[in-house]
């Protein structure tokens, strides 16, 4: 393992954090923003809405809104309904 890879793995390991995502406990790599969380989850940000600790995050703020340990995150989309 080269040094660069070593440090990447170490930083990832050290900054892994636990959050609650859609009601389930989940470990995610840190540091994260809303934008990088969506990318990590392979979700198209244009099709969802995100709530962080019960407050909606505006789409324009995804890049500069950090996710912190123990955050409660809801990610929703539209489904069929009446």
């Amino acid at each position: 393992m080269n040094m660069e890879r070593f440090w990447t793995v170490l930083v990832r390991y050290e900054s892994a954090m636990n959050v609650t995502l859609n009601g389930e406990p989940r470990e995610v790599p840190g540091p994260l923003t809303v934008a990088t969380l969506l990318a990590h989850l392979d979700i198209d940000s244009r099709r969802v809405a995100v709530e962080l600790n019960e407050t909606v995050v505006k789409r324009a703020r995804y890049d500069d809104t950090p996710i912190r340990p123990d955050d409660v995150i809801e990610i929703v989309n539209f489904v069929g309904g009446g």
Binding site: L41, D44, V48, N77, F78, G80, G81
Partner: protein, 257 residues
Amino acid sequence: MSDPFVIAGRTFHSRLIVGTGKYSSNQVMRAAHEASGADMVTVAVRRVDFTRKTESLLDYIDTSKIFLLPNTAACYTADEAIRTARLGREAGMSNWVKLEVIGDEKTLFPDTAALVEATRVLVNDGFVVLPYTNDDPVVCRKLEDAGAAAVMPLGAPIGSGLGIQNANNIRIIREQSKVPVIVDAGVGTASDAAVAMELGADGVLMNTAIAGANDPVAMARAMKLAVEAGRLAYLAGRIPRKMYATASSPLEGVVGR
């Protein structure tokens, strides 16, 4: 005859609003939407399912032609409904919401006190609120006073297909309301939609009656025609109901008399 359907300053071509739930496939839904002629459809706001990759509902709705109306279905408190409305606003492209605050699991009747409260909060937050409510003129008046852009009394319980259960209340609600009245829920077949429109409703919202029909696309077209027919009949002004016959043909000149 010019007869625009305007809600909160926005004009719709169709007085039929349809849902997106319970279809056997997204393809059938899209075909039914097309046949219905509706230019507003309801959608629900739910958690993204991370466990499986599903195609997006939005791939089957042409949002350049069809306006999305997010709902707050399955919310049982004002707070839940308000939260869901705010998420729907961010996920969608507008500040409109079909507001539901359910009060009872079995009937899906609304909790009207919480509904009025949630309407007030969301109107103050800049929402165009279309509340699903009971066929109760007093509640409809309170919702209008709270700033609702339309009132949406049920014809019968959601998904019941029973048709308009309290026609007189719908008429009273229409007479007293300054905002559009949309009969939301309870339609079972085309005649129910026509009755709602003949009573003076400005529009009809339905989901199960179309999605649950054996042929949803054919039923969607039936509903389109029924809503148009009912509206025309309402505007045309029906004859009074009478107990006995009045002959349509002349009484004079009958052969052999």
